[in-house]
């Protein structure tokens, strides 16, 4: 087996045992990146020099017998909306093309503390707005399983990098499915933790009340290891939860005997779920049952309103969050002559933002305007409460919920029109609306393209979610299959 095919867990054991050095690991990954990146195009920036320097430090520390975390020396790829001190952090937008933040996001600090070399920043839909990574201002990322198809999005670069073994682990962000959906389309594991589980400090916000940072990995164990590094309270994020972080790896193999699992009727049997996807998901449910879980159908009656609620709340928040990009302090500023400061704002923003971003800013501004606020934003908040209540009711009876991660497998570039694209998030958005935890684990293939099973857990039950995903993963071998690049 080649170095880049090892999981993070396997790498960490070899590193700890001294069978391999961090420098060799980093070198091995850049070899792999060189071999496949021209086809995958997952990275918008590679940070080889820094990663090599970091690896050398780690090797020295290890040689000196300093205590190192389990993932020390295991490389990681980072979505380009997480602030990395002194490194480009662009959100794949022209407006931040030359932006280098003076500080690290909390999750980046934690990766540094865990001694994980960052191999590069990954492509994404501009400001995380999209489901295919086609909205990147810079490049098109291809799905390693079929280079003619999209990797999903918005964290498509991170998902493709991990699926193509260009990195064993990656960080993404998930506002309406942006980790889970590309994980499903690229045949890997991806998790959106509970809102508040991971600090958002340093995550360039799309929709603050929905955004959450989470891990990508090729196995559930690797996913648990990375979550362990990034989870936990951060005094710099007032919405981060001050709760203890359990040992996610320790309980992975506790099994799912007797677990009660609700099968979300609307998202398994509802319209828009591709038959091939539905078939794989039903097979997966059978497997869960065979493992001792009790599965039964459950209805979440308000879940159908998730899409309209999302498309009010997310644009409203984004219209305000993205107001700071005005050319005054940092980022792109128009070169054209301007008549006054407002003209400077308008020209800068008109040039800097792509079409989808402009569309959502306008939608959100409209929804927040006097006279429309009550009808749109306030109403959306009320329906959001109803959707949360549906989940709360479900938790009274079930430990977990399941449904597909994406209603379809990966589609060809430019294949979906805008409206249909937005339906790509139909299974993932409710989880963000409710603020609960969701995880996508590979559950087979349809026509050669990966299908993801989504497990949904109550707030702060990531340990249970990982345990169930691990049980399923160990009973199948989907995670062992790799795209032929």
């Amino acid at each position: 087996m080649q170095l880049h095919e090892l999981t993070a867990y396997e790498l960490s054991k070899k590193l700890a045992a001294g069978e391999i050095s961090a420098r060799e690991v980093v070198a091995g990954y850049y070899e792999r990146i060189q071999a496949v990146e021209d086809r995958v195009q997952a990275f918008v920036c590679q940070t080889r020099e820094l990663a090599e320097k970091k690896a050398a430090e780690i090797d020295e520390k290890r040689a000196a017998g300093e205590p190192l975390g389990p993932l020390a020396g295991v490389p990681i790829a980072v979505k380009d909306l997480l602030c990395t001190k002194g490194l480009p952090t662009t959100c794949c937008s022209k407006i931040l093309e030359d932006f280098r933040p003076p500080y690290d996001a909390t999750v980046i600090e934690r990766c540094h503390q865990a001694h994980m070399p960052i191999v590069g920043k990954t492509n994404m839909d501009e400001f995380a707005m999209g489901s295919s990574t086609e909205n990147s201002a810079f490049q098109v990322t291809r799905n390693p399983w079929d280079l003619e198809t999209v990797p999903g999005g918005s964290s498509g670069g991170s998902a493709a990098a991990v699926a193509a073994c260009e990195a064993p682990l990656a960080l993404g962000s998930d506002t309406g499915g942006s980790i889970r959906q590309p994980a499903a389309l690229c045949g890997i594991v991806g998790m959106k933790p509970t809102y508040g589980r991971v600090s958002r400090y340093g995550l360039i916000a799309y929709a603050s009340s929905l955004d959450q940072i989470g891990p990508f990995a090729r196995t559930v164990t690797d996913c648990a290891l990375l979550l362990q590094v990034i989870a936990g309270h951060d005094p710099r994020d007032a919405t981060s939860a001050d709760l203890p972080v359990p040992d996610y790896v320790a309980t992975l193999d506790a099994g799912i005997e007797g677990l009660k699992i609700g099968v979300i009727r609307e998202l398994v049997y509802g319209q828009g779920i591709h038959p091939g996807v539905k078939a794989r998901v039903l097979e997966a449910i059978d497997t869960l049952q065979n493992l001792g879980a009790e599965c039964e159908e459950v209805s979440l009656p308000n879940i159908d309103y998730s899409m309209p609620v999302y498309y009010i709340i997310a644009p409203a928040e984004c219209s305000s969050n993205l107001a700071r990009f005005d050319g005054v302090r940092y980022g792109h500023r128009t070169n054209r002559s301007v008549s006054d400061i407002y003209d400077l704002f308008a020209k800068t923003r008109g040039e800097g933002f792509g079409e989808e971003v402009r569309l959502r800013i306008m939608l959100g501004t409209y929804a927040l305007s006097t006279g429309y606020y009550d009808a749109y934003y306030l109403k959306a908040l009320k329906v959001r409460t109803l959707i949360k209540k549906d989940f709360d009711t479900a938790w009274e009876k079930y430990d977990l919920l399941v449904c597909p991660t994406s209603p379809t497998t990966a589609w060809k570039f430019g294949e979906f029109d805008q409206l249909a694209l937005k339906l790509a998030d139909i299974c993932t958005i409710p989880v963000n609306i409710a603020g609960v935890a969701g995880l996508s684990v590979p559950c087979g293939f349809d026509d050669g393209k990966p299908v993801g099973l989504q497990l949904i857990g109550k707030p702060f039950s990531e340990d249970l979610l990982l345990r169930a995903a691990y049980a399923y993963e160990q009973a199948t071998d989907w995670h062992k299959q790799r795209p032929a690049l």
């Binding site: 932006f99 933040p101 400090y201 603050s208 919405t239 219209s319 700071r324 005005d326 927040l368 606020y373």
Partner: protein, 475 residues
């Protein structure tokens, strides 16, 4: 008068916290531009706000002192508008869920008791400052950006400019007592924006609301409101068209001029700040804050009248500033003559402070030493007149009154034997006065007393001199 002025005041107060509202940057005045900034107050992408607990406490403290309710739970909201001094192009403020609300304040203005309802006192962040260069470029200093700001909004209950003036004096004094702000209007720590319109008491008809800006002192607020009332009265009487507008006070010309007309209401697209969870002050904490409220100016004023027997005027002057009132009380306690203490503090002490541009907290003469001086007068050791000479000496030398009197030999002459010669001299040197007095002109005695006092450099006991002169002249 059918048309009644109807005035509301919106006051912004910079809170004297150590750090800014949502980050750890120091909250300071007059630092080099952009030296007190971090990713949070610069609104850099990815940064997040964390509320300053002290600022929350200060608003609760003020709200309680203004008889407001403290919300069980409230929210921050984003006020969205584009302006370069606003680093995020939105201001974190409060909208429909303020921290404190529904209070009132009472005071006396124009000789009448007034009660003004307080609509709300809430918390927000200040903006930076734009600096426009002569060449057309603009610079922005973000040092002030993110400084905690309290907004206190009244109901439109004021009917005169004088009420506005007294309210601001009362509020300023209250804020200083509460130690939540320096509240200097000249330094922008307290900013007032009145809204003025007229209401017809018979028809209920209202004129459009006019907001006045650029008011740098309490006097400016008074004068601008007065001007605006007159201007609007003139306009309704002459049937002139009136507009909802913002007007700027021109200090030099003493008039308001149009800044901008409001065709429609500003749309700030307020919505709940998603980066901050709702704020629910712990009731126990609120109770603690309530219990720790200091005695407020109005309460202290009443006590000064009842406890020290001071006139209303003295009580008002002394309690206007907490440190002055504290100083007075320390003097009064050490000399047991409150009225004398009051006279000294309001008179010579204040004059010295004014002359040297000092605050009473840095006045070199400690209350105990001033009390000692008052005691010497009351014990008849020196006269009040001599005391005026002793006072600057005490300030200059940091000696006690006794020491100064001793060293300078300023002790009152109470010995008739010592005064005998100078009394004789007075009679001899002022035959006209002696004659007048003998003819029944009591006032003439004053000239003789004055002569003696001059000769003794004021040290003679005036009562004794009086007595001896009368005796000698056979009265």
């Amino acid at each position: 008068m059918a048309w009644q002025p109807c005035i509301g005041l919106e006051v912004h107060v910079e809170l004297a916290t150590e750090s800014k509202m949502f980050c750890g940057c120091r909250n300071e005045f007059a630092a080099p531009p952009n030296s007190l900034c971090c990713p949070v107050c610069l609104g850099l992408p990815g940064s997040l706000p964390v509320p300053n607990r002290k600022a929350v406490e200060y608003v609760i403290r003020t709200g309680l002192a203004l008889n407001c309710q403290v919300a069980e739970t409230c929210r921050f909201a984003r006020k969205n508008y584009f302006y370069p001094d606003l680093a995020k192009n939105f201001q974190i403020s409060q909208y429909d869920e303020p921290l404190t609300y529904g209070g009132y304040i009472e005071f006396v203005a124009d000789g009448e008791p007034v009660r003004i309802r307080i609509r709300r006192a809430h918390l927000e962040e200040d903006t930076g400052k734009n600096i426009h260069l002569p060449d057309g470029r603009s610079l922005v200093d973000y040092n002030r950006c993110g400084v905690p700001l309290m907004e206190i909004v009244t109901e439109p209950d004021f009917t005169t400019a004088e009420q506005c003036r007294v309210y601001l004096l009362e509020l300023r004094s209250l804020l200083r007592y509460l130690e939540v702000s320096e509240a200097n209007m000249e330094e922008g720590q307290l900013r007032a924006e009145p809204t003025v319109n007229l209401i017809n008491s018979q028809t209920g008809q209202r004129t459009p609301k006019v907001e006045i800006k650029n008011l740098a002192s309490i006097k400016a607020v008074h004068d601008a409101v007065q001007y605006e009332i007159n201007r609007q009265l003139h306009a309704v009487e002459h049937g002139e068209e009136m507009f909802q507008e913002t007007r700027r006070w021109n200090q030099q010309r003493g008039i308001t001029t149009v800044m901008r007309r409001k065709e429609t209401a500003d749309d700030y697209m307020y919505f709940p700040e998603p980066d901050l969870p709702p704020l629910s002050p712990d009731p126990q904490w609120v109770a603690q804050i309530r219990a720790s409220l200091p005695e407020l100016p109005q309460q202290r004023r009443a006590r000064f009248i009842s406890q020290y027997g001071l006139p209303q005027y003295d009580a008002e002057v002394l309690t206007a500033s907490k440190s002055t009132a504290d100083y007075f009380e320390a003097v009064a306690a050490a000399c047991a003559d409150a009225k004398a203490a009051s006279n000294w503090v309001m008179g010579d002490v204040q004059a010295y402070l004014n002359e040297h541009n000092l605050d009473i907290t840095s006045f070199p003469l400690e209350p105990q030493r001033l009390a000692g001086l008052i005691n010497l007068i009351n014990e008849g050791v020196i006269s009040s007149k001599i005391a005026k000479q002793v006072f600057p000496e005490m300030i200059a030398t940091s000696r006690t009154a006794e020491q100064v009197v001793e060293e300078k030999g300023l002790k009152q002459i109470d010995d008739a034997g010592q005064l005998e010669a100078v009394i004789q001299e007075a009679i001899a040197a002022n035959p006209k006065a002696v004659e007048d007095f003998k003819n029944g002109k009591q006032k003439a005695l004053g000239a003789l007393v004055g002569f003696v006092m001059r000769q003794t450099k004021g040290q003679a006991n005036p009562q004794l001199v009086n007595q001896m002169l009368r005796q000698k002249l056979g009265a």
